[in-house]
Each structure stands twice: as structure tokens, then as C-alpha cells.
Amino acid sequence: MKRLMLAIAPLLLALAALDARAQLTIEITQGMDNPTAIAVVPFAWQGSGTAPEDVAWVVDSDLARSGQFAPVARSDMLGRPSTQKDIFYRDWRAIESEYLLIGRASAEGAQMRIEYELYDVNRQKMVHSGVETGPANEARMLAHRVSDAVYEKLTGITGAFATRLLYVSVTRVPGGKDYYRLTLADSDGARPIVLLESREPVLAPGWSPDGSQISYVSFETGRPAIYRQNLATGTREQLTNFKGLNGAPAWSPDGNTMAMVLSKDGSPDIYLMNLSTKKLTRVTRHYAIDTEPTWMPDGRSLLFTSDRGGRPQIYRYDLRTGTTERVTFEGGYNARARVAQDGRNVVMVHQQSGRFHIAILDLVTNRLQVLTSTELDESPSIAPNGSMVLYATKRGDRGILAAVSVDGGVKFRLPSREGDVREPAWSPYMGR
């Protein structure tokens, strides 16, 4: 017993030290040419003690990260109003702020309440007001909901700040086995929680359509297997244990079926598993590599990667007719598609001059646009509102996450101070 404790102790210490440095930070590298100026005034705290979270700062950072807003620096603010009667519009016109967000936060027991109002400075008029309530320990999520409301009011696009990310991080152990961690964090990288830690590879994280469950592949038994895990209860279930590949799990839009890749019958093919009965249906039947299935939002067809034409390209399988058609023709390597909720924009890994970039294909116009310029970009994941693409790239010899807007105009990085970060999976809208 004592020997066991001694053996474990260094491991725990090492992990505790890592966690503090493991959080992702955000570096905006490219914004829009004419971002909208907005002043997000620190919210008044009306509870006892100090505020559990600087709500206004979370909103300020969210809006800045979108690249569409240029929040006014707090040091430039000529006043700190928290109610309408304290607003002097000339103070905000003087610093050329087009919009003004003020608010108040309070707590009653474990419940937090945030009230806020958005003003058009030039028209001198309130354009939106709202209230968010919820557990005080979810203060950051409440703040992200304020960001969502402001973003939607000013851009007409639903915000995706109150969402979460899954990603895999790896800490190298020279000459030994690496540490693989599956981590859940807020959309801004804050509040990371390690869901799974293993000395064997963990990969391909994904979400159930309601955001309550996740799926992934883990090699913890010495071979790959697909698992699903309930985020609220922590219970998990091993879905597959076939000979050969068990990979690329993808939840259907209705949540009842999991598409996956198995090679138990010879070569890698796409299969569907009914999640209630665990019954398998084989979708593709080809000696080529068929992998990386993803669902169209209507659930009627799947996109997947296949090298049946000699090189990896994206194909579409119609589940009703059983027909397969090739989707990508530009370039010699197109793989791992993900589809926006509009069913029109498809992001993928695209090779150009030997380099791997993230590209976006418009299924209506068939126009392909390369969004990134770094060399080893992979694993694109699209925000539920279709505005941004999160992906993995390399900086030096370290894996980091980065994001680009679907028009290529806004870019930011989410570097971690520790380890390699990879395979981001942006959640659907939570609790809607």
C-alpha cells in the first residue's frame, strides 16, 4: 500500500502542476477592417462581497474575439454608468463608441442575476435589454449568453459564445509513453475540465446533437474502441470492440444513430450503429479506404472521405437511394469534411502545393475557398452558428488550436502553454 502511494504521488503532483498551465489563451491575429466600436462598461455588483466574475470583461473578450467588434479600452472610458440615468452620450461620442453596453449583476444564495441594456450612442436610444439568471458558479456561461444576445442584436446572427469545446491535449514524455487528455472547456478556452486521461491515444472527440453526451476513440485497452460518455452523470459506455479499426464516430442529427469506421470485414468502411439496439448496418462496401463520416444536417445523407479514386476525396452517400457521388474535384487531397448547420458550407482539409490547409466548399456554387495559410492544418470544426471554424495547426513543433471566420477575414489562435493541443470539437448550442 505504501509502495503504491509512493508510486502514485509524483504523478499527482505532476498533473496538478500541469493543469494551471494547460488553459488555452486567445491571441487575435486578424480582425475585420471596420469593426464596430462598442463600450462594455464594467457591470455594477449589487451582491455581497466581491463579484464572482467580471461579467463585462467576459462580454468584452467575446466580442473582440469575433473580430467584428472593437471594444473600447476601459482606460479610455470617461464614465462608468450602470443605469440609464447615469449615461452621458457625449462621453461616448467623444471616444467614437458606436454602442454602449451597461449592466448590473447580483446574487441571491447560489443564484446569480445579470440585467443589461444596449444603447445606440448616435441615436441616443436603448436598442436591447435583457436578463440572465442561473447558478453563480456558471457566471461565465451567463456572461457568454449576454454576449450572444448583443452579438445577435447587432449582427443578425445567433451568437455562439455560450457553447463549449472538446479537445485532445498531449503531454510528451521523452523516452516514455505520452499523456493524452480529453478536455472540455468554454468556447473561449476558460474553465478546462479533464474528462479522460490516458497513457494510450485518445482521439476523434465529438458531440451528441443536444450537447449532453460526447463520443471519442480511446486506445486504453491496447486497441481502438469507440466510447460515449454522459457529461452530467459521467457514465460512459463502450460501443465497439471489433478487430481492426474502430474510429471516427459521428452522431446523427436525431441522436439515435452513430456513424463510424470499422475494418472488421476487411477494408475500412462506414457503418451505422443504432444506439438503442447496437445493431450495425454497413453503408459502404469498397476495397478502398472509406473513413471520416459526417452527417448532412437533414440526416438524409453522409459525407465521407475515400481514396477509391486514387487519392482522398469527399464523397456523399444518400441513405435513401443508396447512391454515392463525388463531391470534391479541386486538388489532390480533400478529407475530413464537416458541414455547417445551413447544409451549404462544408469545411475540410485541402492540400495545396504539398501543404495542408482548411478550405470551405459552397455546395450550391461549388466554389472552394482556402481559409488558412499555415502548413499542417487539420481537424476543422464549425461553430453552431456557422460563423467560425476552429482547427488544429502547428506552431514550431507544437500543436495548437486556431480559428478562422468562414469568410477568411477574422483569425485568432488559442495557444496552450503546455503540450500539444489538437482535434477541437465545437459543441452544438447548449440547452436549447
Partner: protein, 174 residues
Amino acid sequence: MRHLPVAGKTVSVLFAAALLAACSGSAKKEEEEAAAAAAAAAAAAQAEQQAASAAAAAEQQRLLDAASAYGNVFYFDFDSYNLKPEALEALDAHIAALQGSEATVRLEGHTDERGTREYNMALGERRANAVRDYMVVNGVPSYRIESVSYGEERPIAYGSGESNWSQNRRVELK
């Protein structure tokens, strides 16, 4: 091939002992002589067997040493799962060693970091299976071989560039 002459010698010694027993006149003396001869023959046979198994063990060790001299890692070209000539030579040595034992092997397929992770998982499996198929064709029963792909998840060299990538495109025999 080397076991057959050894076995033949053992059989001929036993046959001589039986002949001796059949030709003797006095029953008691014959019995004693026969018993002595049989004991001598058995001892000789045991010695022969020990020598034979020692020789077999030495031969198996020689095959294992020859195989390990080649190493247990076989490399591949980018996006390819074709076995290279040097890999075939090394595999022949491993196959010879496997044929003298009942050992099981695990083939771990790996790729470099270029390309998508799941596609690389499939490519790593093709590499492992290419090695497996070559071993099966050359007489190693498939039930003794397990192949597992790690795709690009377990690099040997972490950096980018061909000097690192070429070390990572491999199958490891364990």
C-alpha cells in the same frame, strides 16, 4: 530440416539394441545383457535428445539473433503501404525465427503527421496488414499475428520535415 538427421540416429541406436537382445543364447544372461544394453541405449538416446534440443535451441537463438540484427521496424514511403526490399529481407529473418517457435506477434502500423488523423489511422492499418499478409503467405499462421494501427498518434520523431517524417512512417513488430 536440421532435426531429421538427429532423429534418424536415435532410431538406429534403438534398433541395434533390439537386435542384440534377439541373438543371445542364455535367457538370464540375455535378459541382463538386454537390460544393460537397453539402459545404455536409453542413456545414449537421452543424450542425443538433449544434444538435439540444445542444437535446436541454439539454432532458434541464432535465428532470433539474425532477426533482431535486422531490427523490428520497417519503413514506408509517403502515402504508401508497399514493403521496401530492405523490409522484405528483414521480414524473411523474422519469419524464419517465428517458424521455429509458437510466439505471437503484434504489428503496429504508424504514419507521419501529414494528412488527416482518421485517414492516417486507415493508412497505418494498411501498412500493418501488408506486413501481416507477407508473413502469412510465407507460412506464419494468421492467428499468431495481431495488427493494430496507431495512425499518426505515436510518432518517433516529433518535428516536421522529411528527416522526421521518414522515421514515423513505419510498422513495428512486437
